[in-house]
């Protein structure tokens, strides 16, 4: 019944300064299967994959492909062994064309003419139904398209092992289905696919087998059909967390929906707002270089959300609020007083914080320490001539490392060496430290494990209780329904609906996004 074994990794060990990232981990991939690799942040998924693709060198263990031991010292070695990867964060060259990105660095690429490239690229893109052309500059394509080009590149390399690291985190449902179809096609052709994702439903939709890692160690390998979702979660979170789980679950139940599909927490917050309904921020036909004019307001202690498909303008709108893109028009009032917000520093001075969608590009200062990253925004607000003293900054860092449970070797560790979820917590800490009145969180839970997701959702609700206004953007509607009392729906760069109260349910949101209300 079992397909022949394609890839084995045995006793893999990897050390980083101060951390044992992988300890005696085994992994087996068979031909023609989709194998989900699951684990919390810092479980070692990314490290294992980077070893397999030659980005990191393992400190111990062995890898075989089709029974033959292989040595992978570089991404080139991995490619030659038939291993292709699409990473969580897109690692293509944005200033080259789509075609160049698809063929760059491949052995046969040197002798092909540009026109041939583009023709070949168009062919592949057409076959995969990816709506772009080979001659386009990659950076001008949307994030989703860039991701799909990365997949197309990997697919075209005749790989035996295809690694997809969070491939769906920036795709909408239609694109996800397209990808899954492609994955099943490849599976039928005998390709082994390693699928890393945080979306549990997606795991069960396509995976045959699941391997779970925790804290750099192997928990086990299970057929997907034999492992109920609840068990998977408890295996990922670990024993000591299982005790905490019921509490978190009751809490999610509490912040979940009642039978009518109305958000309970929404009710709670709405009551709160009735008591205390001062508008904190109000914009009238605000527009930026990236966003069309829109009206928006948020009350003190309110949690609202912007939703819509990728490219609907949800991120662009909140960027305009923060002055992240060039503001081109509109009136802005804070607590009823007209103000000018043209640059991020203006927004910060008025008590607005903004956690950007692209953590790597717009969030972390990778080479600086956790401590320096945490104090950065506060330091900017304090001004050039009022530096935060070393001891003060150490106290701030220690406090937030503890409060947000940031996993780091020390406060002086460069933030770039932390796992994605912990990097996100560092940026959250950075904004919390400024004690904002209004916090904009753009995809704060993207590419983050479930435990951290819950922590962030809880944090948002706690902030709202304390009177902080929060705008929360997530590609998981479920998550927004749980936290937001008002959802602003965008389509084609326009606001097309505003849902509150009884309309706050998945069906209504989907209908509004799709334009079904007409």
């Amino acid at each position: 019944m079992d397909n022949p074994i394609l890839l084995t990794m045995r006793h893999i060990e990897k050390r980083f300064p101060g951390v044992l990232a992988l300890n005696n981990v085994d992994f087996t991939l068979r031909k023609g299967e989709i194998h989900a690799l699951m684990g919390e942040n810092g479980a070692g998924k990314s490290t294992l994959i980077k070893i397999l693709t030659g980005v990191y060198q393992m400190d111990g263990g062995e890898v075989t492909i089709e029974g033959q031991p292989v040595v992978i010292h570089s991404p080139q070695d991995a490619q030659n062994s038939g291993i292709s990867t699409v990473y969580q964060e897109i690692t293509l060259c944005p200033n080259l064309t789509v075609a160049e990105n698809m063929f760059i660095g491949r052995e046969d690429s040197a002798w092909i003419q540009r026109k041939e490239y583009e023709k070949k690229a168009d062919e592949i893109l057409g076959r995969l139904e990816i709506p772009t052309r080979g001659a386009r500059i990659l950076g001008r394509c949307s994030l989703a398209i860039q991701q799909m080009v990365a997949i197309a590149r990997a697919v075209d390399m005749n790989c035996k092992v295809l690694i997809l690291d969070e491939p769906t985190s920036s795709l909408d449902d239609k694109e996800v289905n397209m990808l899954f179809k492609l994955m099943r096609d490849l599976k039928a052709q005998g390709v082994g696919i390693i699928f890393v994702t945080h979306f549990l439903e997606q795991v069960y939709e396509v995976s045959d087998r699941i391997t779970v890692l925790r804290n750099g160690e192997l928990v086990g390998e299970y057929p997907a059909s034999d492992l109920p979702q609840v068990q998977l979660v408890s295996k990922m979170l670990g024993e000591n967390l299982i005790e905490e789980l019921p509490e978190v679950q009751t809490e999610t139940k509490m912040i979940g929906k009642n039978q009518d599909g109305v958000s309970l927490v929404g009710d709670m917050i709405r009551n709160e707002i009735k008591k205390n309904s001062g508008v904190f921020y109000e914009a009238e036909s605000l527009s930026s270089a990236q966003a069309l004019p829109f009206d928006f307001k948020i009350r003190k202690g309110e949690v609202n959300g912007f939703t819509g498909l990728l490219g609907s303008g949800r991120s662009e709108s909140v960027r305009a609020i923060f002055g992240a893109d060039k503001v081109t028009g509109g009136k802005v009032k804070i607590k009823g007083e007209q103000v000018k917000i043209n640059r991020p520093i203006d927004a910060m001075k008025h008590g607005i914080g903004y956690l950007a969608e692209d953590r790597k590009r717009d969030g972390i200062i990778a080479d600086l320490s956790v401590r320096e990253n945490i104090i950065l925004a506060l330091q900017v607000m304090n001004g050039f001539f009022k530096p935060i003293s070393r001891s003060e900054s150490e106290a701030f860092a220690d406090e937030y490392i503890k409060v947000l449970n940031i996993k780091t070797a020390s406060r002086e560790t460069p933030v770039g060496s932390l796992s994605g979820g912990n990097q996100q917590k560092v940026i959250l800490a950075r904004w919390l430290l400024t004690h904002p009145d209004y916090l904009i969180l753009d995809e704060p839970t993207r590419g983050i494990d479930i435990g951290t997701k819950w922590e962030i959702q809880k944090l948002v609700l706690k902030l709202a209780e304390e009177g902080v206004s929060v705008t929360f953007i997530s590609s998981e509607i479920e998550e927004m329904l749980r936290t937001c009392s008002r959802l602003i729906v965008m389509r084609d760069r326009h606001i097309v609906g505003e849902l509150t109260g009884e309309d706050l349910n998945q069906a209504q949101v989907m209908k509004t996004i799709a334009g079904g209300e007409a």
Binding site: P17, R361, V380, F384
Partner: protein
């Protein structure tokens, strides 16, 4: 677990490791070659002062201009991810401006020297602002932007004093260029110390360090955190301008004249080299000014060592190149990573031996 792994190299090699090792090797080499190389004595100089004298003193003294320029260059490198290649030419301009004021009127008083220095500072800061504007506002690559002043700077210096190379004779200028009566340490060395202390104070009293590093590492994130990266980049060039004015004024004071063609000629490359030897990433980001200062002394010590070995001045550059290639390769990320791997293997072996011992007992 984490405690077990603690050791001096747990965070990799420190940035200052390579420049410090370079200095130590040069010192040891010279000690073996000729122990008297480091002899320091007190002699009476031409002005009748009792002053320190010896190779070590001339190394530290001779590197002064380079060390000051390297401090400023470190900031530009960190913020802009590029280097200013016009510092030599700009120093000639600043030096000419310094002399221009000194030569106006008859006598040279202390106040006048101060005025002349301040004028040189303003001029050099303006040219720094010119470079900085091209880089920060117009987003021109630093090397291209500063190529302009590199090309025309010495012509501008030539115009300032009408093409002449005027001499300035004054006890005050002499004191700046060599020794202050009663103090046995060369004045340029004291100036380096003062500039170094000012840098330290600026880092302590402002947020310059973290802002500059943020801009250099991730400009986009820095902007979204409210940092004005244009201002930070411009500021780095203006600070370098002050360093240029100080170096130019020292250079003029040493010789007692301004020669716009030869003052601090080719210093820009040594400056960039000092920054690199200091372990700073020439692509911007994290930096250590101390590393660049040590880098400047490494370069100067190398030069003096070669001269002491009677290498002819034409050959010195070739020998220097060999040593510098070695330094840069040893300091490269590839060699560092290899070394760290070797160290961790050594540690693992040691740990294995330890557990074995524990089992047996």
């Amino acid at each position: 677990m984490i405690n077990k792994l603690k050791n001096p190299f747990r965070n990799g090699l420190g940035q200052l490791t390579i420049p410090l090792i370079a200095i130590i090797i040069l010192v040891v080499f010279n000690l073996i070659r000729d122990p008297s190389f480091f002899g320091i004595e007190i002699i009476q100089n031409n002005d009748g002062n009792n002053v320190l004298s010896g190779n070590l003193i001339s190394i530290i003294n001779g590197a002064s201009e380079l060390a000051i320029l390297a401090m400023g260059m470190t900031l530009v490198t960190a913020a802009c991810g590029g280097q200013d290649i016009s510092v030599g030419a700009a120093a000639a301009i600043a030096g000419s401006a310094f002399v221009k004021i000194l030569k106006s009127g008859d006598s040279i008083s202390g106040g006048k020297v101060l005025l002349a220095f301040l004028f040189a500072c303003v001029v050099a800061m303006l040219f720094g602002a010119f470079n900085g504007t091209l880089v920060a506002v117009f987003k021109i690559q630093p090397m291209i932007a500063t190529l302009i002043l590199y090309t025309c700077g010495r012509s501008i210096a030539y115009w300032i004093n009408g093409g002449a190379t005027p001499t300035v004779t004054s006890p005050i200028i002499n004191a700046i260029g060599s020794f202050i009566p009663g103090i046995p340490v060369p004045t340029p060395v004291l100036i380096v110390v003062i500039v170094g202390v000012i840098f330290k104070l600026v880092f302590r009293l402002t947020s310059l360090e973290i802002f500059t590093q943020s801009v250099g590492i991730n400009g986009s994130a820095a902007r979204l955190n409210g940092i004005n990266s244009t201002f930070i980049k411009l500021l780095s060039f203006i600070i370098l301008g002050v360093c240029v004015a100080i170096s130019g004024s020292i250079g003029v004071s040493r010789l007692g004249l301004i020669n716009h063609e030869t003052l601090l000629l080719d210093v820009e490359m040594d400056t960039i080299l000092a920054v690199a030897i200091g372990g700073n990433n020439l692509g911007g980001g994290k930096f250590k000014v101390g590393g660049s200062i040590i880098g400047a002394y490494v370069i100067q010590m190398l030069t003096i060592t070669l001269y002491a070995m009677k290498v002819s001045s034409t050959d010195v550059k070739a020998y220097k190149a060999i040593v510098i290639v070695l330094l840069v390769v040893i300091g490269s990320p590839v060699v560092k990573a290899k070394f760290e791997k070797y160290m961790s293997q050594l540690r693992a072996k040691k740990a294995a031996v330890n557990t074995k011992g524990a089992d047996q007992s």
